[in-house]
Each structure stands twice: as C-alpha cells, then as structure tokens.
Amino acid sequence: MSDRDIDQQLVERVQRGDKAAFDLLVVKYQRKIFRLLSRLIRDTAEIEDVAQEAFVKAYRALPNFRGDSAFYTWLYRIAINTAKNYLVSQGRRAPTSTQADVEDAETFDDGDHLRDLNTPDSMLVTKQVAEAVNRAIDRLPEDLRTAIVLRELEGLSYEEIAESMQCPIGTVRSRIFRAREAIALELKPILDTAKDKRW
C-alpha cells in the first residue's frame, strides 16, 4: 500500500469520525510543514502557531478532501494560505519566494535547515541531538547504517535498497527497523529530558 494510499486511508478514517487517525497525519507531516513555513516566517514560536492553525483548518475542511490530489499537496496549500494570511494580519508581506511550486512539495525533501533556534537551551539541544545522531550512526553495523541512510536520506524503496545491497527485501525491512530502534534509543534521553528543561 503506497504512501499516498495510506494517507487516503487515514483521511477516510478521520472523515468517519476517528480523530486518532488525524494525530498520525500530524506526526507524519509536522516537520515538512515546519520546514515550509520556515521559508516564510522566522520566529519559531510563530511557526508553531501558524502550523497549528494550518493543521486545525485542515481538520475542519476535511469533508472537502476527496483524494483527487495527495493529502500533503492539499495540506501544503492550506499551510501556505494560513501563513500568508498571518503575515498580512501582522502587517508583513510574504517574501516573493512563496511561489513555491506544488511540485516542490511532492518531491522527497532532503532536509533544509531550519533557521537556528535562538535560545542557548535550544542550541544546546541541537548540538546534543547532532552528537546523539552521529554517535548512533557510528555505532551501527555497516549494513544497518547503509540501509537507514539509503531509506531516510536517499529515499530509496525497499526494493531499490535490496538491489543496491544485494540482499532480500525481508532483510532490508529488518535492517531499517533495527537501525531506527537504535537511533531512537540514543535520541530518547536527550529529547525527553530536553522537554522538561523547556519548562
């Protein structure tokens, strides 16, 4: 079942009253939306506010989503409009680069950098995250490392990775999963305690 079909399934569940399905979509697209908004809005707190409003508007307007386009494309448009309205209401104009193509939204993104969060705490957390990720990657056996990098950074499918690594798809599946587990484990203490520090 393709990524797009999965989104469509989740949308249909929301349309039938299942709010948990919408949570899954928020988790999935939160970063992409933040990244998109960071091209228009500098302040992180404002980005969060506008992103939140965009997701809520998408939830409310969901009866109008019929699967003619990909869910993310539709969400992307809502986010852009929300950001523009926000900037206008603040008396600010959006930078002209908002004519971001819809095609941009649909290509696999490889991680633009968010403008640096400005507080010392957040810079520290960023540094810690970088260290944790690097540490986790270094500690991975080479086959796990290759698999996760090909998947998350190069965007290859399992089949493509299997061919590239000359191994069965089942092996690819489990390597990617084990790599994720290992990295998640390294990140957990940093991200979970960082949360407490913020308050």
């Binding site: 569940r13 019929r66 950098h113 968010l114």
Partner: protein, 200 residues
Amino acid sequence: MKTGVGDRMEQTVSNQVSATLTMERISILLDGEMDRAEAMATIAALCADPALRRHWHELHRVGDALRSHEMAASDSEAFCARVAAVISAEPPVLAPSAVRTSSGTRRYWMPGLAVAASAAAVALVAVPLMRAPETVSIAKNATPAQLSTVDVGAQQSLPTIANARGLNPSFNPYLAAHRELIGNSVVPRAAVYLRSAEDR
C-alpha cells in the same frame, strides 16, 4: 462448546496479536511498504492504541533527526499534543455514511448533460405551478429523453406549492429585518435570501 485446544489456540493467537503489532510493523507502514490488508489492520491498530501511536512518533523522529538536527531539536511531541488537544475539542467530522461509488470518489452530474438536465428539470418543475394546486403526474407527460436525464426525485409527484397570494409590500422592511436575524436552521440558508429576492 470450545475444547481446551481451541482455547489455547486463541491464547496463542492473542499473544501473536500483541507480538506482531510491534514497532517493526509500524516501521514498515511508515515506509509505505506493506500490503493492503496488513496496512489496513496496522492503521486500525494504531488508531486504537495511543501507545502504538507513540511508537509511530518515535520512529518518525528518527528520520527527522537524520535529516535536520535543528528540526529535531524543537519539541515535536509538545506540538503534536497541542494540535491533538485542539482537535479533541472540535466537533467530530460527521458524514452520515461514506458510501464509496465503484469509481472511487466522483459522484456528481456529467458535465455534458448539464444544460439539458437543468433545462429539463426546470421545465418539468414549472408545469404543476400552472395547474396549481393539483399535483400533476409528470411521468405521463415527459418524453423518454427527458426522463433519462432527470431524477426520480424531481419527476414523480412534484409538490403542490400552496399559499400563492402575495404579501402587501408594506411588509417588506419587516421581512428584511426579520431575515437579517434569522439564526442557522437546517433548511438551506439560500432559501432565506431567495424568499424575497425581488423585494429590495
């Protein structure tokens, strides 16, 4: 009457249910690499279990962190919780039943027939008014071509539209003020304006 063997098998299956709904399934679903039946079941399980949704979040965090350290540093869990809190306060999306047509999504009239259908429907609707108040059975009078483009709902037992006397135009300013303050009913709002489109 279940046998002991049957019971044990159910218990095994039950363990397997919890064993199979693991992070690995979620990982595969995340990559869009699962067959349809498994994916549907995994999605259903995710929607039913907040603990599994946390796993979904943790696995997404890995990809986010790999792609951008700054992005990962900002607190995604707090953000997602904020959105979830707002959504939980929203009225649920209520579609009486999501009936899917065989073609998937499209369900409205065919553009090519638009003009003919509207004209035919308008013509058919007009007839009983000339003979008000009796109900006219349109089926007898319509040609087969007209029948095929117009709904059953429109053609059979067209309503008698009663109360044909006019209102004294001196009521117009009251009607306008009344209309302005009509709240939201169930009858379409458009009816409120169209009731007296000529009167302003």
